[in-house]
């Protein structure tokens, strides 16, 4: 599009203004009413649209706002480049000037971006959220493992954890397989609750160190223990009874984690052994 005052060669020039009479050299015909009508319509549309949006609620829906969590990223271990010891010399051929160069125009920036060398392969911007989520999961997991006394809540922390073990794949018990960290903490807490209440006679333990008894005990969602059932008895009736009394004295275990409630309600296997096999 040629601007007003454009030269016949098409080059834009601001030095020589166009002759005054050239602009209004033609008489207005239908363009003026049409322009007024068009502008009026645009104004009406904008006003009507603004009035209609008042009933549609707040401009920002809080439920749709993306939450951003600050995650402490590990410190970079790479070394910083050496700082220059003095101001670098100006490139040869350039002219020294006291005034800073003018900022690049938008067109220049677009031109540079356009001309910049494209990275090989995927040219989409790298999505850092996945890395951040992985770091967050790792931090949570480490915190869980480091703090065995942390309260066990109802929330399932490991369902989405790639390092967690799904309930259907878990092998619980004597250290076989990978123990779900939340389940491991739960079992540890249960063991700590039962052990002080178990007082078999040391003389029996010393004489028969291989004694062990297995009980099946339903555990309610609130941790309350149901009636213990002797699954596998030892050869010593006193030892078996001490195990049953231990469960009875314990009375209540920590609440089972959400994912394990059904399993706990169906019955938890409790093995009480004279010696520590773990």
């Amino acid at each position: 599009m040629k601007s007003l005052g454009a030269t016949p060669q098409g080059a834009t020039t601001m030095a020589r203004p166009a002759p005054r009479g050239a602009v209004w050299s033609r008489r207005p015909t239908w363009e003026i009413p049409a322009s007024i009508a068009l502008h009026g319509a645009i104004v009406a549309i904008v006003l009507l649209g603004h009035c209609g949006s008042r009933d549609s609620g707040p401009l920002i829906d809080p439920t749709k706002v993306m939450q951003v969590h600050a995650v402490a990223l590990p410190k970079s271990t790479s070394t910083m480049p050496n700082r220059p010891s003095r101001t670098p010399d100006a490139p040869k051929g350039s002219q020294a000037s006291d005034t800073p160069p003018p900022p690049p125009t938008a067109s220049e920036m677009a031109l540079k971006k356009h001309d910049a060398e494209k990275p090989k392969g995927d040219d989409r911007p790298k999505d850092r959220s996945a890395d951040r989520e992985a770091l967050l999961r790792q931090a949570k997991r480490q915190a869980l493992l480091k703090d065995p006394t942390a309260p066990i809540g109802d929330q399932d922390h490991t369902r989405t954890d790639p390092n967690g073990v799904d309930i259907k794949d878990a092998i619980f018990g004597l250290g076989t397989g990978t123990m779900d960290p939340e389940l491991a903490r739960y079992i540890s807490a249960c063991r700590a609750a039962i052990l002080p209440n178990w007082t078999p006679l040391p003389a029996i333990l010393q004489a028969h160190p291989d004694l062990s008894v297995q009980l099946l005990v339903p555990v309610a969602a609130d941790g309350k223990l149901g009636e213990a059932q002797l699954v596998t008895g030892s050869s010593d009736s006193g030892f078996d009874r001490s195990a049953l009394l231990a469960v009875l004295k314990t009375g209540r275990l920590p609440k089972p984690p959400g994912r394990f409630r059904d399993s706990a309600a169906a019955g938890v296997l409790i093995t009480l052994a004279a010696r520590d096999l773990q």
Partner: protein
């Protein structure tokens, strides 16, 4: 009262268990007909192993038999069992069995002891028999509804306390399978007369008996393996010489009176040798002497530094001692002929008074920082275990004959008393009473009195 209430509550719980869980017939049936639950995936499995950290609830009813000394007998047995650290003795107020009920199987109901929550039951009978006393100990497993053992003892009426110690020993042995140190004594250096004299006192702090009366300084007593002699260091003649007291005959003989010190005697396990520190040339070294003649058999150390405080290993083949050859005082171990010297302690700058565990696996010693504290360590220098902390000065550790306890002289209550703890440092109890002045304890072997 709180303890009583707690036991009543736990007892009620236990009795409830007895009602809801028909026992033992049902349990035995279930045990016989037990079917293995498959280890299906999704089943939570809780493993509880290695019990024993908790104290055992023990019911200890008063002795029957009508002896006039039953009260004193009962208090000795009660205190012994309390000191042992094994038991949580249930308060008598929680008992529902009538006093005077029989001690033999069938003469009482186990269910009566479920109520106070007893796991073990120690019944006793004490009867006067014309100047002598007969004591019977009957020990039961309440949960197992069975007798664990029974034993009878007879002694002069004057030996009531030793009789009570034996009954307490029997209860501990039947319930725990371990020997208790109740029938032992301590030899100590006491300041009760104004001087430092050698005394002997029962395990529980009673029966203080004076051995030396020379009005000088008498130190570091050591029991012979047979329990009939004491070796010690005395300044009776002005020089720190080594003496041996025959406890049965009452004679004290000087075994070693060489120039310089003759101190810190320690008996070999077979009683034929004594290790002690001599300094004939001014340089203290450890020597092994014939325990009858006092002649030098071997010289253990030859370093230029100070070598003192020998302690024989239980097999008699090695000796632990203290040396400053590395700068500060540290504990070393060497073969009894002086070969293969190895340093045991590496932490701290002043580690002294080694005492070899009767089990042979650890050494107790004293480490000085701002105060003196007792530690134990394995022979290879690993497994350092602190026994005392924040309890003022704790010195001169010695082991019980079975190696389950460590005693030391402690000023934690102000004056010096004998304190005892389990070998892992738990259950610290004061054994001696009174105004104090007990130092250098040496634990006797189990005595047959």
């Amino acid at each position: 009262m709180t303890t009583t209430r707690r036991h009543i509550i736990s007892g009620l719980a236990a009795s409830t268990a007895a009602l809801t869980l028909p026992w033992p017939a049902r349990a035995q049936e279930a045990s016989d007909a037990a079917t293995e639950v498959p280890q299906e995936q999704g089943r939570i499995h809780i493993y509880v192993g290695a019990p024993g950290a908790s104290k055992l609830p023990l019911a200890l009813p008063r002795p029957i038999g009508g002896s006039a000394q039953a009260g004193e007998f009962y208090s000795v047995v009660h205190r012994d069992l309390d000191l042992s650290g094994w038991f949580d003795i249930i308060d008598e107020a929680a008992y529902i069995e009538a006093g005077g009920t029989g001690v033999r199987p069938g003469e009482f109901r186990f269910e009566d002891w479920d109520v106070p929550g007893a796991v073990a039951l120690g019944k006793s009978l004490l009867r006067d028999q014309g100047g002598r006393i007969r004591a019977e100990a009957w020990v039961y497993d309440v949960a197992g509804r069975r007798k664990l053992g029974a034993k009878a003892f007879t002694a002069d009426a004057t030996a009531l306390r030793s009789l009570a110690h034996k009954v307490a020993n029997e209860i501990v042995f039947r319930v725990t399978g371990q020997n208790a140190p109740f029938a032992t004594r301590f030899a100590i250096s006491g300041t009760f007369s104004g001087n430092k004299e050698i005394y002997v006192v029962d395990f529980d702090g009673h029966g203080l008996t004076r051995i030396t009366k020379n009005g000088t300084i008498n130190l570091q007593p050591a029991w012979s393996p047979g329990g009939n002699k004491l070796a010690f260091t005395s300044y009776a003649s002005g020089n720190p010489d080594c003496y041996v007291a025959d406890l049965a005959g009452g004679r004290i003989t000087r075994l070693s009176a060489r120039n310089g010190i003759n101190s810190g005697p320690c008996w070999s396990p077979d009683g034929t040798r004594l290790a002690l520190t001599l300094a004939p040339n001014g340089d203290p070294d450890v020597y092994v002497l014939d325990s009858r003649t006092g002649e030098v058999m071997t010289r253990l150390t030859r370093s230029a530094g100070i070598d003192v405080s020998p302690s024989f290993s239980p097999d008699g083949r090695q000796i632990a001692f203290v040396s400053d050859r590395s700068g500060g005082a540290q504990v070393y171990v060497a073969n009894v002929d002086g070969s293969d010297v190895r340093r045991v302690t590496f932490q701290g700058t002043h580690n002294t008074d080694p005492s070899w565990s009767p089990k042979g696996d650890r050494l107790a010693f004293v480490s000085r920082s701002s105060v003196f504290d007792v530690f134990t360590v394995r022979l290879d220098g690993t497994g350092l275990l602190r026994i005392t902390q924040g309890m003022r000065d704790n010195e001169d550790p010695c082991w019980s004959p079975d190696g389950n306890y460590i005693a030391c002289a402690s000023t934690r209550t102000g004056s010096s008393h004998i304190w005892m703890s389990t070998a892992d440092g738990t259950h610290q109890v004061q054994l001696t009473q009174g105004k104090g002045g007990y130092t250098n304890p040496s634990w006797s072997p189990v005595l047959g009195w």
